[in-house]
Amino acid sequence: MSEAISLKHVSKSFRVGKNTVQALNDLNLAVEKGIVTALVGPDAAGKTTLMRLVMGLLLPDAGEITVFGHSVQREAATVQEMTGYMPQRFGLYEDLTVQENMELYAELKGLSRQGRRERYDLLFRMSGLAPFTSRMSGRLSGGMKQKLGLICTLLSSPQLLILDEPTVGVDPLSRRELWQIIRNAVENEGMTVLLSTAYLDEAERCEQVILLNRGRIVGQGRPSSFLEPLKGRTFFVTSQKGLRRDLALELSALPSVVDVALQADGVRVIAKKGGLEPLCGVNVTAIAPRFEDAFVTLLTQAQEAPSLTGQHSAPNASPCENAPSLTKPLAVGSATNEDVIVVKDLEKWFGAFCAVNKVSFTVKRGEIFGLLGANGAGKSTTFRMLCGLLPATRGVLQVSGENLLRASSRARMKIGYMAQRFSLYGNLTVLQNLRFFAGAYGLKDKRREERIQWALTEFGLTPFQDFTAMALSLGHKQRLALAAALMHEPDILFLDEPTSGVDPLARREFWREIHRLAQRGVTVLVTTHFMEEAEYCDRLLIMSRGEVLVQGAPQELKAQYGMASIEELFVSLLERREERL
């Protein structure tokens, strides 16, 4: 038998307040032995529920689940004995040391006393945690915590490994190390792995992918099999004039276009069946589809009512007059030469520890500026100083012409800030949240109502206005948080990891909104762990241990260091730095 996990007609629903939510709907599924299977899908697709069902932590309403032939409902203990499970927030005891956590899980999993030392050594070596065994696990960086969680689940060499978003919120370098550990387990110990991920490049590198949406399977197979229907529908568009993000906005308005994304110095376009209509004034090259294209297309189709496609003829040399003309000059030039944010020799000391060391950069009006770095590099500290939430120890800090060290409250009125965890009031409705934030920014009467109406329509929140913020999906929460940050029409928008944990579809929608804002002259400063998002920035800066490693436009940086992507650049820069230290 080559099936590790099998689900037959499995359904599961939850009661949320007065409503019943169907998390999984008559699901049939088989996971093959000895390979890595990725579970992908938007928020609330049912990924976590599926994993918990397989672990026997939830009972299905209907259907049959087996793991290596054992029924989960009847032999939960047997299944749990041969399976290692890492929940999304892995349960490390933060007030126990790395070693103590390992020992606890070794005992719980019944690891025999002899040979335990060797197993610890191997896992510590593999994860690079060997120097930190006596450190409290609460004081590890995010990446190290995830690695510790992973090796705790690997302790007893389980036959099946179930990982719920093991790489979320982890910097690219730690992400690679986590993947090395997983690969090692599959290749050397013959483990079967089922993992969920929001990173589609990770899914593409797995042997099998299951795409879930609203409790149903939308697609299952090898990553390459997803690409089949997209042959001849993916293009790369560049233009000599204007900004690529303006080009992207115009392209996305075309009827034949399913989706657009910024990539390198141009725009990646997915067309509907039948291909792209002829375009004028731009260079169009056909390119090979990626897994992400398939993901977006399948989910967009699933969300929209199915319509007959294929009315477009294949692109051929047609006269320019009939084709839409793109990249017309914009009414308002977005990026100007005015420096909106000026940071010079910024320093922040916590006692004898230097969190930010002589950081300098400037951001121009209408520019999207990215702040990148590993966990603990000093991004968040820099960010908090820029928002006036944390006083700087030394240096110049100017926002919109105001010196933040002196006139911070006046400067703050020009800033919109969206915090990492969205800071919404969970038990207030969408409308009440917006009213609160409008009030907090001092908006009154007619203007307040106008802004609230604007926020509801602009972000598609009108149908949800009476939902509590808690009940919204992560993607909608993110939109609401952005709307709240924009209530007072700030000139500058600070976004601290705005897309962490948000599904790829919602993430794209979010970036489209950010590009529209930048086009209108709003300056955006953003931190992110998604390296493909770094490519969406006009300029960026990579930090490590409080210092700036490089800064510049993504294309320039890639060319300068001879790297194919920002992710590669990031990883190689950090690795080089580690070696030096």
């Binding site: 939850f14 918990r52 672990m55 026997g56 932590l57 939830l58 009972l59 939960a76 203990a77 749990q80 004995e81 399976t83 499970y85 890492m86 929940p87 999304q88 927030r89 892995f90 349960g91 490390l92 005891y93 933060e94 007030d95 126990l96 103590e100 020992e103 606890l104 899980y105 005992e107 719980l108 999993k109 019944g110 409290m136 969680g149 705790c152």
Partner: protein
């Protein structure tokens, strides 16, 4: 060692490490009990001693002088002589005196006819103290009258049973032990289990081969020991620092304390079996167990003087039985019938809550 035993040992060890490293657990298990003991030992007293009393003596005679002289000898009063009623009134208004005693000029003459009266004005703002002062003065008056009669060969010897010194500390401190054990048994236990749910450690724990009863035993053992340690600490402090007598048997005290600890733990585990959030678990534990142990257990407020409905309610509060046992063992001794009857009720409640815990706990997330 069997795998189950090994898992339980690992869980107990983990729990102890967490208690040692988490300042809030230490605060609830050690600091707060000591704090309560000191408040009730030193601060709060339901006795009134050295109450300032204003005396206005218009009478000039041996009887009046003797009465006032008697006040000086009493530990309950510190009398002060004022020249006129107006001055005494001022002293009352300023709070220098809790009560005024006025002996009119015709006192001696009236006393001769067996009609002697003294006037007492008590400041009623602090009703409790006022009632005490009133009681003491009446007592003093009675004693004085008796002494007058003693010349005629009469004597009254007051005897107070079980708390001969009539110190409120002697019954407050045994009572507070019940509150302290509720604190560790219910509040701390409910909160540490909720914390495991909150931090996601419970999900990871449940996905291992550990069984739900092992998880529960792994919580019961450390907090049982911690609660008993708090109990031991309280008994020692009460005994040696505050000199509360312990008349009954130590072994009986230990046995019933174990029983109460089990009931408190069962309530804590029951609360945490449905509230998976530390704040709610803490609030629930305080409202359903800690405050009742304080107010409805008969430890401060007499159960017989409560409204009937509230009296019924006290029957489902284990602390009520435990407080009765504690006060009996400390002050009266091994009254077996009473202790066993209350212990049986307590055991019944413990079994009831443990049954609920067993019914409510499953190795699942929903």
């Amino acid at each position: 060692m069997s795998p189950a035993l090994r898992r339980i040992c690992a869980l107990v060890r983990k729990e102890f490490l967490q208690v040692i490293r988490d300042p809030s657990s230490i605060a609830i298990a050690i600091v707060q009990p000591l704090f309560l003991l000191f408040i009730f030992g030193y601060g709060i007293s339901l006795d009134a001693t050295h109450v300032p009393v204003a005396c206005v003596v218009d009478a000039t005679g041996p009887n009046a002088r003797e009465f006032i002289g008697g006040l000086y000898q009493s530990q309950y009063f510190s009398p002060r002589i004022y020249g006129s009623m107006a001055e005494a009134e001022q002293a009352m208004i300023k709070g220098d005196a809790m009560a005024t005693i006025w002996i009119r000029s015709d006192f001696e003459r009236q006393a001769m006819t067996g009609n002697g009266k003294i006037e007492v004005i008590v400041n009623g703002v602090d009703a409790n103290t006022a009632r005490l002062v009133q009681g003491y003065l009446i007592g003093h008056w009675g004693q004085w009258l008796l002494k007058q009669g003693a010349t005629m060969g009469l004597e009254l010897k007051p005897r107070i049973w079980f708390n001969a010194e009539v110190r409120s500390r002697n019954y407050l401190l045994p009572g507070i032990i019940a509150v302290i054990m509720t604190l560790t048994g219910t509040l701390l236990t409910a909160m540490v289990v909720a914390r495991e749910w909150e931090r996601g450690t419970m999900e990871a724990l449940l996905s291992t081969p550990v069984t739900i009863s092992e998880v529960i035993v792994g919580k019961v053992i450390p907090y049982f020991l911690l609660g008993m340690a708090g109990m031991g600490l309280s008994v020692l402090t009460a005994r040696w620092l505050f000199q509360v007598p312990l008349v009954g048997s130590h072994w009986l005290l230990l046995a019933v304390s174990c029983l109460y600890m089990l009931a408190a733990l069962a309530m804590g585990l029951f609360i945490s079996s449905f509230s998976k959030n530390q704040f709610i678990a803490g609030q629930l534990a305080i409202i359903t167990t800690y405050l009742p142990a304080f107010m409805l257990s008969g430890f401060i407020f007499d159960i017989h003087s409560m409204p009937t409905v509230i009296q019924w309610l006290t029957h489902i509060i284990p602390a009520r039985y435990f407080v009765t046992i504690l006060q009996t063992l400390f002050l009266a001794g091994d009254v077996h019938g009473l202790v066993i009857k209350n212990a049986v009720y307590m055991a019944g409640l413990a079994a009831f809550f443990l049954l609920l815990v067993a019914r409510n706990s499953r190795k699942r997330l929903d």
